[in-house]
Point group: C2
Chain length 235, copies 2
């Protein structure tokens, strides 16, 4: 199965078999996803059209259109504070089944330990297995764990949400925009995000949202968030 | 925390501090939930009103109204084919967090093993812990595992859905009725329900639904279904 990274593009970026990349997209492809000139990736227009593309420097060459049946029409990045124990294995497995495009593990203020490089390999293997079992066309990207502030800088989308259990926020279900091409959803650690983290996220353009009136565990929240976004964008 | 069972009633059943029980409700309270005369339970009208009630024979005495903040306005029964291994622990934990009222484990045609009585005790302990951690007002009921046909007979609701991955069914998100007081959602075992099971469920009034285009594991499907129903009924 192809392990290709995905980015969302605006239809206006596609000109004569070339994709004109924005500065943010160049940064994301090269600095965050670590692609080099000549590497292939997938460009999605958020309306169900996908193309295989090859990275040049400030643009990319369209190689061919791709037909997908089991992939979501929208690119979802899950920014998730690393939970304690082995709980993250299950988050990777479930969210891959639900169609996530990219998982960005985050070291939050309340994250207890920094995972070993072996963990990252393990998560990527789990994602590959889950993508195959759930009959997806592509394996989601699992980024290296970074600090919350770095994650906010690295990942940019037109619609970004941060889930917070305590607080009088609108329910995610009431704010999901299904007519978008890229969504970032952030879920917190045991004990929740700190007040500073929520404020920093809001300053970075994230909308705080609720996942309901009960307190969800750090490993349940991402699965609930992905369930709601997948259903809202696929149906 | 109160370990009280819940049933949904129609407003017309409440007359002068008495709840006139239907034959189905009497059967459910006595034969399925194993309540005796004098036992207490919760009656919900599906519009956010709850009462503590005491079972008499064909009716129940209303003792007092109950104020709830973290419980769903609808009574959800999850009818779930037992997955292999310890996967059911996680199903009980997550679905309790999401507000399920009753979990009915089912021995389907493709269920491999019959669980020991110790398992049932274990699941009830997990449900109690998860209810407390998620700040729920009540602990969901975990019924004894029964055959699929018995489960169809025991559990009756105005809206019943059975999830099936393969098949050209409407997405659950498109059919959930939020203006109801009770919902049954059934999710299958590894490999899915058999054709006969789907046909039997449809004959019993269940509507077959999809949870999306990817194949979900038996332990993921209930969490996704509960996420969607909780959000649709709570928001």
């Amino acid at each position: 199965m192809a392990q290709l990274q995905r980015i969302a593009i605006a239809p206006s970026q596609l000109q004569q078999e070339q994709i004109i990349l924005t500065n943010e997209q160049q940064h994301y492809l090269v600095r965050v996803l670590r692609l080099r000139v000549g590497d292939r990736f997938i460009a999605m227009d958020g309306k169900g059209k996908w193309w295989l593309a090859q990275l040049e420097t400030e643009q990319a060459q369209v190689l061919e259109p791709i037909l997908v049946k089991t992939e979501l029409p929208v690119s979802i990045t899950l920014m998730v504070a690393l939970p304690k124990g082995n709980g993250f294995d299950e988050v990777v497995r479930c969210c891959t089944e639900l169609g996530v495009a990219c998982i960005a593990p985050v070291l939050s203020d309340r994250t207890l330990l920094r995972p070993s490089p072996q963990k990252l390999e393990r998560w990527r293997r789990i994602a590959a297995e889950a993508a195959e079992q759930s009959e997806r066309a592509f394996v989601p990207t699992i980024l290296e764990p970074v600090t919350f502030n770095s994650a906010l800088t690295n990942n940019v989308a037109t619609h970004s949400y941060i889930c917070e259990a305590r607080g009088d926020y609108l329910h995610l279900n009431n704010v999901i925009k299904s007519d978008t091409s890229e969504i970032i959803i952030a879920t917190g650690p045991e004990g929740g995000w700190t007040k500073t983290e929520i404020e920093t996220a809001i300053a970075a353009g994230f909308q705080p949202v609720s996942l309901g009136r009960r307190i969800l565990r750090a490993v349940t929240a991402p699965v609930v968030a992905l369930s709601l976004i997948s259903a809202a964008t696929e149906v």
